[in-house]
Amino acid sequence: MQRAFPWHLIFFLAPAVLIYTVFSAYPLFDTLRLSFFTDSDSGERSFSGLSNFATLLGNAVWSGAFWNAMWNNTQFFLIHLLVQNPIGLGLAALLSLKGLSGARTYRTLIFLPTLLSVVIIGFIWQLILSPLWGVSENFLYALGLGQFFDAWLGKESSALITLSLISVWQFIGIPMMLIYASLLSIPDELLEAAKVDGASPLRIFWRIKIPLILPTLGLVTILTFVGNFNTFELVYAVKGALAGPDYSTDIMGTFFYRTFFGYQSQLGSATMGATVATMMFLVILMGVMAYFYLIQRRLTRYQL
């Protein structure tokens, strides 16, 4: 007997598929398509194959800016990976301790900056760190560290690190919450059994909790990677689209913005912008694929 065509499947899938196609898939593929075209001076668009990519990677002016943005973005990501996620893990471990008083308050306070607009965060930190009106200089003097104060956001050597740490400060709540949730889902019997067996708290943490939350740590890593390579607002809010001094805070997002929309007398180019966007997409795609094929598949999952 032939089964009836499952129309209800189409019916239930349609809203999501439609919305996803119109607002996500179609723009993405159109961007990819646009990167193979070029505009003439009179505004006519013509197919040009891979010439935009050749310019982006082969022309010294373009490739210098591109690799600079790529390297800055990589540093931005590494700082998040090495500072944000371990601290997030530590905070989550502390919060999940039994009998910690005020855990809810801490959790809310630490998560709060994540809810604020990046523009507000950028503005507040710019004021805090301002050498003219900021509180950080007096604060450091009060701690006896006054001689270390500097115009961090204005120095080529420290601007990117400072911006990364501001971003870490803002988004620390996300890895903390994700890890916290997965720590809570570890059954108490396991931990009690370990305790009965005489395992120290540290040993429980490293040998029982960490292996059980490894999939979450992987997820946090890949979310950080995707988020960092797509970010734009903080640098734009604090340093402007030119990402000074001397492009030392230029990341893929700001580089894309200048290329696509133009900046001051630099005219924007939709096709060149699409090329940069395609490169960003490829970088993120390769990162995510590398993660899935090399790491995710090898993670052992425990049925709890």
Partner: protein, 417 residues
């Protein structure tokens, strides 16, 4: 039967409707969000006294988004009838793509000198596509109270300028120069192209670069950066992280003696500063040298060729070219000076001082505004960056000149051998 009252109002409604159908409407594209009230309360009513049948709306977009969004609206066919034009290449590009009307033969154009029209003409100078509206003049503001307290006079030469800076630094707690490099643009637009013309003899030096008779590594251009390199001692603590807004506040609060500036800041300090301030022009290298000022053609107005009411738009442009408009614009938008030939009495003392420099010095525009911004790397951005790096003490004036020249030579002919 209709009672007389509804009949009357019905007639009135029909009359209004038919009037509205006859009235021509124009909308203006602009980046001057700050001037919205001024247009709606002063300029448009003044225009409507002469042309009551033309309705005008002023629709500004924020400055950083203006060029791209205007471009997009032009391509989509939804842009306004009148377009406030950026100078030189941005507008030239719009004209080439057919988004600005050729204004040849417009009577209003006769009221402007060639120097004013150059910013909105094709390279051969034959065709104008925007009517010049206003320029900004660069110079320095000084806090008169601080100058009186320390017995200082506004400087005329570089030596006097540095004596003033040294006195402020050693004899008071004030910051000598309110200037930061966080936003970068000030380093070029209100420092390099402000003090520079005195070194490269204004137009002569600018045109020599375009004709290929000079390079950025020649002495006059390097000298401008060398002068800037000497400023870092006087710019106050932490200036690499100081924004334009910080600098404005520093001067407005009376904590800094000198503020390098463009004339557009006049109205801001008229509102914000509680002390009297004056202006002095960029100091010349030696006493008796002829002086040059950056009198930058900043704002023009053109017509969208797809406008439904091109005749009304032309009528508006001719009004913009009139003496009435010149007077209104110069005195209401303090710090923007009409570019037309009509004599205008400037009421604001500081603005009057600055426009008076036109009689004492030769005018030039910003060094890189014409032609030089067309290539990649974009010279405007490069100048922001190297000029702030020079102020920060990160690179030498010679390195700055070499970097700009190298970028320029990469795409521009002619270059000297």
């Amino acid at each position: 039967m209709l009672s007389p009252k509804p009949a009357l109002s019905l007639t009135a409604a029909i009359l209004t409707l038919s009037l509205a159908a006859e009235a021509q409407t124009l909308s203006i594209e602009s980046w001057r969000v700050d001037d919205k009230d001024l247009w709606e309360d002063v300029l448009i009513p003044a225009f409507n006294q002469q042309h009551p049948d033309i309705e005008i709306s002023f629709n500004p977009t924020s400055p950083t988004e203006y060029d791209s969004s205007l471009n997009a609206r032009m391509q989509a066919g939804t842009a306004g009838d009148l377009v406030i034009c950026r100078p030189f290449d941005v507008s030239l590009n719009l004209y080439r793509q057919g988004h600005l009307m050729n204004l040849s033969g417009l009577p209003g154009l006769d009221h402007y000198q060639d120097f004013a029209k150059r910013a909105w003409s094709t390279d051969d100078g034959a065709t104008s596509f925007c009517l010049p509206m206003a320029s900004v003049i660069h110079g320095f503001f000084y806090n008169k109270d601080i100058f009186n307290e320390l017995n200082l006079e506004p400087p005329h030469t570089l030596d006097e300028f540095h004596d003033v800076l040294e006195t402020v630094k050693s004899e008071s707690r004030y910051t000598p120069i309110a200037l930061g490099t966080n936003d970068q643009w000030e380093a070029n637009q209100i420092v390099f192209t402000n003090i520079g013309p005195n070194f490269w003899q204004g137009e002569a030096g600018r045109l020599a670069l375009i004709s290929g008779d000079a390079t950025f590594t020649d002495a006059p251009y390097v000298a401008a950066w060398e002068e800037m390199a000497r400023w870092s001692d006087y710019m106050g603590r932490g200036y690499p992280a100081q924004t334009y807004g910080d600098s404005q506040n520093l001067f407005a609060l009376g904590r800094a003696a000198i503020y390098p500036t463009g004339s557009w800041d006049t109205s801001y300090f008229n509102d914000q500063a509680s002390f009297e301030f004056g202006a002095f022009k960029p100091p010349v290298p030696a006493a008796g040298d002829s002086c040059y000022i950056s009198d930058h053609t900043d704002m023009g107005i053109g017509i969208n060729p797809n406008s439904d009411n091109p005749e009304a738009a032309k009528a508006f442009l001719n009004w913009v070219a009139s003496a009435d408009f010149a007077d209104l614009f110069t005195n209401e938008v303090t710090g923007f000076f009409s570019l037309s030939n009509h004599p205008v009495d400037v009421n604001d003392p500081v603005a009057a001082e600055m426009i008076g420099w036109r009689d004492q010095c030769d005018s030039t525009i910003r060094l890189n505004a014409q032609v030089m911004n067309r290539g990649t790397p974009n010279m405007e951005q490069e100048l922001w960056i190297v000029s702030s790096q020079v102020l920060n003490g990160e690179i030498t004036p010679q390195d700055a000149a070499e970097r700009i020249q190298a970028g320029f030579a990469q795409w521009y002919e002619p270059q000297p051998d």
